[in-house]
Amino acid sequence: GESVGLHLPTLSVQEGDNSIINCAYSNSASDYFIWYKQESGKGPQFIIDIRSNMDKRQGQRVTVLLNKTVKHLSLQIAATQPGDSAVYFCAPERAGTALIFGKGTTLSVSS
């Protein structure tokens, strides 16, 4: 079956540092890969996605890298801020199918 795993359950960084959150997936038959952020007491919030035929996509302060050869995805957050503290999930996405999240990586940003 399909599985998604993140490499580190927790990541602690100082404000202003860059953060890198990693994710491995098993199913290659995905059209997109999506990153979500979930703050305490809230639902997951869409951050950025990347199409399966791309290897890099940049957003505002975030960059997602996709390596299909090793089935690895990463989310880079530049100049991490306290408001970035949350649990981050990656998910392979195919239209009309449910998302599969692992347990996520908890990012803690200290001032």
Partner: protein, 115 residues
């Protein structure tokens, strides 16, 4: 509304009682998903609606769980004879399918506690 809304935000019930959870998707979104999230865990898929029909009910944990969607909009998830293991956050997400691109937008969830 601008986003997915869910009600109630919190629900405390006694074991054996029935509960009904509501989801209002983003206007115009044809697809609607229900998920369950236990503390510190990822998402557990429950059911998927496309319009009013549910092509995938494979995630419903037992026959105590049911869901419906009317008018292609609001959906309700009903849990009958609740058990303590039903305690979790129930999340609803909606999306609009445009070819292969689909982004699911989540509501804030309903936190269910079964005593």
């Amino acid at each position: 509304g601008a986003g997915v809304s869910q009600s109630p935000s919190n629900k405390v019930t006694e074991k054996g009682k029935d509960v009904e959870l509501r989801c209002d998707p983003i206007s115009g979104h044809t697809a609607l998903y229900w998920y369950r999230q236990s503390l510190g865990q990822g998402l557990e898929f429950l059911i998927y609606f496309q319009g009013n029909s549910a092509p995938d009910k494979s995630g419903l944990p037992s026959d105590r769980f049911s869901a419906e969607r009317t008018g292609g909009s609001v959906s309700t998830l009903t849990i009958q004879r609740t058990q303590q293991e039903d305690s979790a956050v129930y999340l609803c997400a909606s999306s609009t399918l445009t070819g292969v691109q689909e982004t699911q937008y989540f509501g804030p969830g309903t936190r269910l506690l079964v005593l």
